[in-house]
């Protein structure tokens, strides 16, 4: 049973990546969206403004928060796209009638969303380092923060947007559901990334563990709740 679910999830991942390669939505729409967001943040906060009593610019200081806000907003686009592909022509029902377990559908979608977020984070992260003059104090810690936050965001985003997938008004309902639910992840990711970059000591390590817990929690919730979300029970 687990092997069948994993196999079907892998087929869905391969299919979605194929669609992505054919359409280029990530490279032509999502990545430019991330870069535009960074530019707008640069216009909104004067890059020359220094933190009082510190040696960093305000922009570099708040860069972790701006980075994760950018990723969070991009998440809405990425997950929305992932489910639009299935609801455009009745494919979600067809997947269920093909005998695919709901957990395989949500799991496959979450993996694709996570992969696309990783690409976005690498590009936007590089942009933030260059444009906001960010320095990375503890690269390993930063990797742990990024991986756990990505898994938490992908898991939760997929889970919450599955609730409104295929329903009228999903484009406006989805953000209303996802953004408040993601507040704890955003707070934790910002604090933990700040600690990884500057050793800020604002409970960063504790938040890193919290992020790992969020990642596990949303992954398990997705597997357990998939049936209730995608099936008429």
């Amino acid at each position: 049973m687990i092997a069948a679910v994993a196999g079907d999830a892998a087929r869905i991942v391969a299919k979605d990546l194929r669609i992505e390669r054919a359409t280029g939505v990530i490279t032509t729409q999502i990545l430019p969206f991330g870069i535009v967001m960074l530019l707008l943040f640069g216009f909104g906060v004067d890059p020359a403004l220094q933190v009082r009593g510190g040696d960093r610019s305000v922009l570099a200081e708040v860069a972790p928060g701006l980075f994760w806000i950018t990723v969070l907003l991009a998440l809405l686009l990425v997950v929305g796209r992932a489910f639009a592909v299935e609801s455009d022509d009745g494919s979600l029902d067809a997947l269920l009638v093909a005998g695919v377990h709901p957990a395989a559908i949500l799991g496959g979608k979450a993996v694709v969303v996570a992969a696309e977020l990783v690409v976005l984070e690498l590009v936007v992260g590089a942009g933030a380092v260059l444009m906001f003059d960010v320095t990375i104090g503890d690269p390993l810690h930063l990797v742990v923060v990024m991986v756990s936050t990505t898994v938490a965001l992908a898991g939760a985003g997929t889970l919450f947007l599955a609730v409104v997938a295929g329903q009228r008004g999903r484009d406006t309902l989805g953000p209303l559901l996802v953004l408040p639910a993601m507040a704890p992840v955003l707070i934790g990711a910002t604090a933990a990334a700040g600690d990884a970059l500057y050793g800020a000591g604002s409970g960063g390590i504790a938040w890193t563990w919290a992020l790992v817990a969020f990642a596990l929690l949303y992954s398990v919730a997705g597997i357990v709740g998939a049936g209730a979300l995608l099936e008429d029970v």
Partner: protein, 209 residues
């Protein structure tokens, strides 16, 4: 069986037996419950009251319904194809999920004229009839035990309609049960063994056609 959609009983009194080798035609006005009945038989909809067994699966048990879905072929109004993938890629994806034999997939593609240049064309560039043929090829490769077809002749030319008729005859000849919801009163009497009237969420036998 009773199925409730949005607070209203979409199907409120369906009582029927379907057999192997049988082609049953569901006829009735729009909104009568034909599609709801097909979805229930496919294991997609939840039954609120009553008792129903399809291929040995109890429709009131979620685990049974999940198993049932793997045994039926449902072709509804939507084609369930991915517009950005080619015909060949769509066939490959769905055949993989259905664990279909590659030989059956090739044969189905040949049967519907999808094995040549058309196989490399994105589904988004196909006509409605060509999309329908692609969906039917997926269904044929799957070899379901229960075929559930919702307006299968819609959007097809005369040749395509004849192809669907042969397909239905072949499937029932091979031992499958075929249920067809259709408004095509001129065409269906020649295809179906039984006619069932679906009116206001109830299903009644209309006698042999």
């Amino acid at each position: 069986m009773v199925c409730v959609l949005g607070g209203f009983p979409a199907l409120a009194g369906a009582d029927l037996d379907l057999h192997a080798n049988e082609v049953a035609w569901l006829r009735g006005p729009n909104g009568a419950g034909k599609t709801t009945l097909l979805r229930l038989l496919a294991g997609l909809g939840a039954m609120r009251r009553g008792r129903a067994e399809v291929l040995g699966a109890d429709l009131s048990v979620l685990g049974d319904r999940r198993w049932l879905r793997g045994q039926v072929g449902l072709l509804g109004h939507a084609t369930f194809l991915y517009e950005d993938l080619t015909v060949g890629q769509n066939l490959e994806f769905w055949a993989g999920l259905h664990r279909a034999d590659p030989v059956d997939v090739e044969a189905a593609a040949r049967r519907f004229g999808l094995d040549g240049r058309l196989g490399d064309v994105p589904v988004g560039s196909l006509s409605a009839g060509q999309r329908r043929r692609t969906s039917l090829a997926v269904l044929v490769a799957r070899r379901p035990r229960l075929w559930l077809l919702d307006e299968p002749h819609a959007g097809l030319d005369a040749e395509g309609r004849a192809m669907v008729d042969r397909l239905i005859a072949d499937a029932s000849g091979a031992g499958a049960t075929v249920v067809v919801a259709s408004h095509d009163a001129d065409h269906m009497p020649a295809v179906a063994d039984r006619t069932l009237d679906v009116i206001g969420g109830t299903v009644t036998e209309a006698g042999a056609s």
